[in-house]
């Protein structure tokens, strides 16, 4: 123990994350409420975004290679419902922002204490439900698109183009359903933390949800131009 610097009783503020400079002030007994948990989850989501981007980049390059290697690619019309789905997903990003505005208004670390704040939080939670429901509606719409395609006789193994269509939409859909689970998780946490959005993983969730949105627009453009 001779080489360690502090008695076990001392508490040091861990308010900056490895600034590299020796600590300037040691304030015993003080703890921060800077919401490192929320930051941590946001870091995690950004890392997940990088991994998911690689995942779809691998599919994309596979598609380009497969399309170029053999001239057996059948071009087909995308089901119209997919454009409606896209609109639904874009609206869900908007409703998510509506929720965020309600939460920002009650951003104190103690949570919603006044009646007005409580009402704002419950409105925010309402918009969260709407966001999740729109997400489900999107997935439902994608299933309709699948039915449309199979009605034309285009199944998973029919042609490389249909194979990639199902692979893209299915893997994106699974990721989006993960986001819908995220809605439920954030809502549960909001109830437990008395509406403190930054301790609920809301920030992390919203990054993920918007990313799913952008990812879908990218995939749609890919499908429009390549199929």
């Amino acid at each position: 123990m001779a080489t360690t610097t502090l008695p076990p009783s001392a508490h040091i503020v861990v308010d900056d994350r490895g600034s590299g400079s020796p600590p300037k002030a040691i304030r015993p007994g003080h703890v921060t409420a800077s919401g490192a948990h929320a930051e941590k989850s946001e870091t995690g989501v950004w890392i997940a975004v990088a991994a998911i981007s690689m995942f779809f980049a691998a599919f994309t390059s596979s598609m380009i290679v497969r399309q170029g290697v053999t001239p057996d690619w059948i071009h087909f019309q995308l089901p119209r419902v997919m454009y409606v789905n896209t609109l639904v997903l874009l609206v869900s990003s908007y409703t998510l922002e509506l929720a965020r505005r309600r939460f920002v208004a009650t951003s104190g670390s103690a949570g919603a204490t006044t009646e007005a704040a409580k009402s704002l939080v419950s409105k925010g939670m309402y918009w969260m439900y709407v966001t999740g429901a729109l997400g489900l509606l999107f997935v439902l719409g994608q299933l309709l698109a699948w039915r449309n395609l199979s009605a034309q006789g285009l199944y998973l193994a029919t042609n490389p183009s249909s194979s990639f269509f199902y692979v893209f939409t299915a893997t994106h859909g699974i990721h989006l359903l993960g986001g819908v689970c995220g809605v439920l998780y954030v809502l549960a946490r909001l109830r437990r933390t008395n509406g403190v959005a930054r301790h609920s993983g809301f920030g992390a969730f919203s990054i993920y949800w918007h990313f799913m949105d952008i990812l879908w627009v990218y995939l749609l453009l890919l499908l429009v131009f390549r199929f």
Partner: protein, 590 residues
Amino acid sequence: MHDVSSDPAVHHHTAPTGFLRKWVFSLDHKVIGKQYYALALVSVFIGIVLSWLMRLHLAWPAWPIPLLDKLSAVGAPAGVMTPEYYLSLLTMHGTIMVFFVLTNAPFAAFGNYFLPIQIGAEDMAFPRFNMMSFWTTFVAWLFMMAAFFVADGPPISGWTAYAPLSAVGGDAGPGLAMGQNLWAISIAVFCIASLLGALNFISTTLDLRTKGMSLARMPFSSWAWFVTSVIALLAFAVLLPACILLILDRTAGTSFFIPAGLVLSDKLQPHSGGSPLLWQHLFWFFGHPEVYIAILPSIGIVATILPAFARKPLLGPRAVIGSMIAIGFLSYMVWGHHMFVSGMNPFSADLFSIPTLIITIPATILTLLLIGTVYGAKMRFTSAALFCLGFISVFISGGISGFFLAQPSLDTVLHATYFVVAHFHFVMAVASIFGVFAGTYFWFPKMTGRMMNEAMGKWHFWLTFLGVYMIFMPMHYLGLAGNVRRYSAFVDDYAISLIPVHKFITIAALLTGAAQLIFLFNLIWSRFRGPVAAENPWEATSLEWSTSSPPPFDNFGGRHMVVYNGPNEYGVDGPQDYIMQTSPEKARSR
């Protein structure tokens, strides 16, 4: 779960008391690290036994191997393995060793245990993901082991699962029906587990460093785990979609990797237009970074341990970190050098050859800095130090053959021979394992609170060190003599004059494998009978040596560590020749 007013650095969970929560589904990174280590240990002995079986068959192809017919009556009738079953064992040896040993032991096991402690955190950023990551890996392991027990055994397509062989199903040979399905599912599940693990490592490094622990002050092992986790994140995110496409080709009738007009067992395959090369590109885009996932943690471990026994600071610490980052970056540009003879455009081969040669520069810098650190040092020759020096030796031996293989014109001749087997076993497998051994002898006191037996450790080192050279050095000669790899026996052809070399290698492999039992015995014996370890038995500087052995549940017993120095303060003047990272005294002149 998270109290609004609580300190963010405080454990998000309290010490569990129940057996399941404490030892099985534990959220504690230290227990999870040990779980990974145990899984790797079981796997490595399975892998060794598989290599024994293959080596015995290569040297004495007609000898029946006892009990082998019990494992597979079809694959080894009366104990003599068929050529196909040899390939099955080859596949499983490679897969188990690369995924469940070389990825798990240096990266997941030691990284889980020591990354949070070395940066002064109390746990990983996401303990639940961490637990899921191990148990998902375990599920992947179960799927892989199940392949031994299905009707026609494990797949014969190698650890690289080259399409179309891996994609077409049972018509192409034994093990390619259910065995290959289990393989593909296992690897896909392993990808998910590794992604969760990598996410955790990166978040932990970025967000949970304690006060004063700047990136530049992180120990080299933590740097290596950090860089490795970035590589793993991006590499496994590519292998996963590749596995999904492979599984679809196998089960859903798609044609991603299977070309048209393939006739197998007199049956025209119902696929068309797929590209076998596409699989190789996807696989090696993962596969080459995977090589660095295996070796970088060991480089970091050696760079951390060596100065503690040389009693000198590591030479060029910034250059070491820079080289690791450069290797990580370049590892994504060289995958095509595995495909020089695949039928890929020869111009691409030239293009891939250039970054392959460039990546030898940071690797050489690292090696020279390690050697320079040892130069003129009064070494303390412990088992851990010996394995560090052994690491440098085998890394050079394996690296030098890389210069030759990096050139397409030479690789065309050598690629399908034992030369390549020698190269990758030295530079990736043995080097990485030496890093794991060094790490084990070094950190065992911290992990268990007891010292390992040094006499046994030194016997283990010398037998292993001489053993691996006896096994893999002659393989260069075999390769240059034109001895092809992946063949099960050389009974009636030009290679018959090389059989004595194969017999020598087999005997060396049996002895070297047996020498690992000394290590296993030492591990178990020392755990219960070894002398009790002090807090800092090696007089090392990093944070894990500032806490008790083994560390308490929250790593530092409620203390929040403050870091004032880098990890490299060895060989300083004064009553003790090193400065702990937690010591507020300034670095003195050397």
